[in-house]
């Protein structure tokens, strides 16, 4: 566990040649690797790049892109833009809570799913829409959402 942790950060840091001005790129890669930005990694990067951790924390909390809490293996983004909202996106969120028990901003205990509410996804024609790990689902109903989640859950079991 330990060795793996540092190897990964080291590789990312090396890729960017330990340049402090590449902080955001580095954080993006860290996030991709760990599905969030772990605290130890912030301190590690801070020492390696000579940036005080409080500053890195400032950057990581400023951008909505970064998360300090682990995201699920499946990150569910439900669109709550105007069109989707009118077409009932809040019902989708409710059905997700019914199916896997998490509210926006939360993660399931097994770290399989995380749910976030986002602004317009640019897929208004498909409203209401959601994205799970880069795959877009459109014209959704609460039933369809539950169906999709059940399938993903089953895929886990295999």
């Amino acid at each position: 566990m330990l060795t793996r942790t540092f190897d990964k950060v080291e590789r990312i840091l090396q890729k960017y040649d330990y340049r402090p001005e590449m902080l955001i790129k580095i954080l993006l890669e860290v996030q991709r690797e760990y599905r969030h930005i772990p605290r130890e990694v912030v301190n590690y990067i801070g020492v390696a790049l000579g940036i005080p951790p409080a500053k890195i924390y400032g950057v990581a909390t400023f951008y909505a892109q970064f998360s300090l809490k682990p995201k699920g293996e499946y990150t569910i983004l439900v669109c709550d833009g105007t069109a989707c909202h009118m077409e009932g996106s809040m019902n989708l969120i409710k059905s997700i809570e019914e199916e896997i028990g998490i509210k926006p901003g939360e993660v399931t205990q097994d770290l399989k799913f995380s749910l976030d509410k986002v602004g317009c996804l640019g897929a208004c024609a498909l409203a209401p829409a959601m994205v799970i790990n880069d795959e877009v689902y459109g014209h959704l109903t609460p039933e369809k959402v539950k169906e999709i989640l059940r399938k993903l859950k089953e895929r886990q079991v295999e």
Binding site: L2, N43, Y44, V47, P52, P53, K55, F62
Partner: protein, 668 residues
């Protein structure tokens, strides 16, 4: 250059940094909440708006002066804008003024009063209130107006950046990384953030009640006053250039019930005397130079965190506060026949970090309560005594006498100057020259009769110190002795001094202290006969065994960030049974093979019986990357570590813990 201000021609300095500062010098203080003359220009609060050339409204802090420019500082429009800004700030401000430490000193409160804000047209919305009382610096985010003065003071002046802005929009807060409590961060408690905070968002823990509790419980309360404190009280009590301030404070403290009041400047003489002998010893024996002074506790913590390789260069002499603390508890208690447990020693300091210093593990029980200048003012004011009318009382003997040198500890260059004074008496000095290298760095060259030149630097501000030490490390600067004071202009600018605590007031305080020093008839520490008596009676010679016991201390490396260590081979046994070996897994150590070391260590515990007592942990950077790989055995850093070195130190530790015999029997 000439500019037109409110219809009148005004002559301003050509090199003024901006219109705000230029006008300040001609007597117009433009309202501002985020302007800090020692840090970069921020322009966030928008209070300092002025009208330029009859059309634009711009912030005067970002406006460069230009010949003939026409400025209006308070048009109806500007008045409305400023009022609006204040109303918006107050709408989300925790306005519990009566219980706020800054009541009466708060800039926001002052402006609200001056602009006559008796009602707010905006609805009140509360920010997420987080109060951190874990350390001596108290943070209350409900009172923060996000001016960023603290952030810039910590980052730009002190080069630490323990706090920064986090989150965004209305949720923005000034916090340490991961909203950690301040006590667990790299904060050195210099209190410069507190000195510059315009509101009560950053204040100092108030320890006044503890004094009354001690008096109530019939304790023998002894006070001691630092040099810089007496230079800071004048403005608060309507006095001008008063050089009898120390005596006035003594009088009030006696009225409150203090049995004795001593002068920390006495201990400063002692420290300078002892430290000079340490320096001469190092110089003659070729031991580690440069010698760094260790009077400033914020600097000491800074060095422990960022420059562990220089810890052997830190003077082992305690700071005047802690030196006098141990003298009073060790010797004076005997003289007056009072049990040290029944003495409560109250140290009055310009400094926030002195509270931290007194609470350091190795100093427990020496100094009981540390009050800052601001708390002292509260103590005095709550008695109703008019400091102006009170007659000064001299300090009690024997620790009330001080020379000019001891008194000058309160300002930058004071410690170095005192050391130079003593050097002049101990070895033959041909010539002493002092010059300013740059703002915050002074060089004193002492030419000895053997042709050698001793180079002493006096530096203030930890950012300046960092630059100088890096230069020393890189061989750019050659230094033999370095005085470091964490706060700009030295202790007179300490985080515990009165408001305002800016460049202007600090310069004024330096002048008052200089006047006070000039009145002292004793020049050098060696002339302090009570100090000599202390040596005759108890300490013997400088650097003697006794004086080592009483006046010297040690330092330990500190991690900037307290991150839990990673258990690699945890032991379920008692603390006293095991030796903790932490292998640094930071970047440098990793690339220099710390993982191989880890594997060797684990192999060792499997192979050798005694090594079963080793608890192996992984740790983050120990900030000694130049000498990687680093391994920490209990509290000792082993640099350029290899398995043999670790074995040696770990065995020593184990022997010490278990008592010699047992270990030597069971192994090697």
């Amino acid at each position: 250059m000439k500019i037109i201000v409110n219809g009148q021609e005004v002559e301003i300095r050509d090199d003024a940094r901006n219109v705000l500062e230029a006008l300040r010098e001609v007597g117009i203080e433009i309202p501002n909440l985020c302007y800090l003359s020692e840090a970069s220009i921020y322009g966030a609060c928008r209070m300092c708006l002025v009208e330029l050339d009859g059309k634009d409204i711009v912030t005067s802090c970002t406006l460069a002066p230009r010949e003939g420019m026409v400025i209006k500082t308070h048009t109806p429009k500007i008045y409305e804008i400023r009022k609006g800004i204040l109303q918006l700030l107050l709408a989300s401000h925790d306005g519990d003024c009566t219980t706020c430490e800054m009541n009466g000193k708060c800039k926001l409160q002052k402006y609200a009063q001056e602009f006559g804000l008796n009602m707010n047209r905006f609805e009140k919305i509360s920010k997420k209130k987080v109060v951190d009382t874990s350390s001596i610096i108290v943070r209350d985010n409900g009172k923060c107006i996000l001016c960023g003065d603290c952030v810039r003071a910590c980052d730009e002046i002190q080069s630490i950046a323990a706090i920064d802005f986090a989150h965004r929009g209305f949720e923005t807060q000034v916090v340490p990384s991961f909203e950690e409590k301040l006590e667990n961060t790299e904060c050195v408690f210099c209190g410069q953030c507190v000195a510059y905070c315009p509101t009560g968002a950053l204040t100092i823990r108030n320890d006044m009640d503890r004094i009354y509790r001690a008096l109530e419980n019939g304790k023998y309360v002894i006070g001691m006053i630092a040099p810089a404190v007496r230079a800071s009280l004048q403005e608060e009590f309507g006095l001008e250039n008063d050089t009898a301030m120390a005596g006035r404070i003594v009088s009030v403290l006696k009225m409150v019930g203090f049995q004795k009041v001593f002068d920390v400047a006495f201990a400063a003489d002692l420290v300078a005397y002892e430290e000079t002998h340490e320096f001469i010893h190092r110089l003659q024996s070729g031991e580690k130079l440069p010698l760094f002074t260790s009077c400033c506790p914020a600097w000491v913590k800074f060095a422990e965190q960022y420059y562990p390789e220089y810890l052997p260069n830190l003077s082992t002499v305690k700071s005047p506060q802690m030196a006098l603390g141990s003298i009073i508890k060790r010797y004076y208690s005997r003289e007056i026949g009072v049990n040290p447990e029944d003495i409560v020693l109250v140290s009055i300091m310009p400094c926030t970090a002195k509270k931290f210093e007194a609470e350091r593990e190795e100093f427990q029980g020496d100094v009981d309560i540390v009050l800052t200048t601001r708390e002292l003012v509260k103590l005095i004011k709550s008695t109703g005594v008019d400091l102006k009318k009170i007659e000064p009382t001299p300090f009690d003997r024997p620790y009330g006498l001080s020379s000019q040198s001891g008194l000058s500890f309160g300002r930058t260059g004071g410690v170095l100057g005192s050391v130079v004074k003593v050097i002049e008496e101990k070895v033959n000095v041909i010539n002493v020259r002092t010059s300013t290298v740059r703002e915050g760095v002074q060089l004193t060259e002492i030419e000895l009769d053997d042709g050698r030149i001793v180079r002493g630097y006096a530096v203030f501000g930890l950012g300046n110190a960092r630059k100088l030490i890096n230069d020393i490390r890189n061989g750019v600067v050659d230094a033999d002795v370095v005085e470091v004071m964490a706060c700009n202009y030295g202790c007179i600018g300490g985080g515990g001094q009165l408001y305002p605590n800016d460049v202007r007031t600090r310069t004024k305080r330096a002048k008052i202290l200089k006047d006070t020093i000039g009145l002292d008839v004793l020049v050098s520490p060696t002339e302090n006969f009570h100090m000599r008596e202390l040596y005759n009676k108890y300490l013997g010679q400088p650097l003697s065994h006794e004086s080592h016991e009483t006046l010297h201390t040690h330092y330990k490396y500190r991690k900037r960030i307290e991150v839990a260590e990673i258990d690699i081979l945890p032991l379920p046994t008692e603390e006293s049974e095991k030796v903790k070996v932490s292998v640094c897994l930071g970047t440098s150590c990793y690339s220099k093979g710390s993982y191989e070391l880890l594997e060797q260590l684990i192999a060792l515990t499997n192979r050798e019986e005694w090594a079963k007592n080793l608890e192996i942990k992984g740790t983050f950077c120990v900030e000694n990357c130049g000498k990687a790989p680093n391994v920490v055995v209990n509290d000792t850093i082993i640099d350029e570590a290899n398995i043999e070195k670790i074995k040696e130190v770990a065995l020593d530790e184990l022997r010490r813990k278990k008592g010699d015999t047992e270990v030597s029997k069971s192994n090697v």
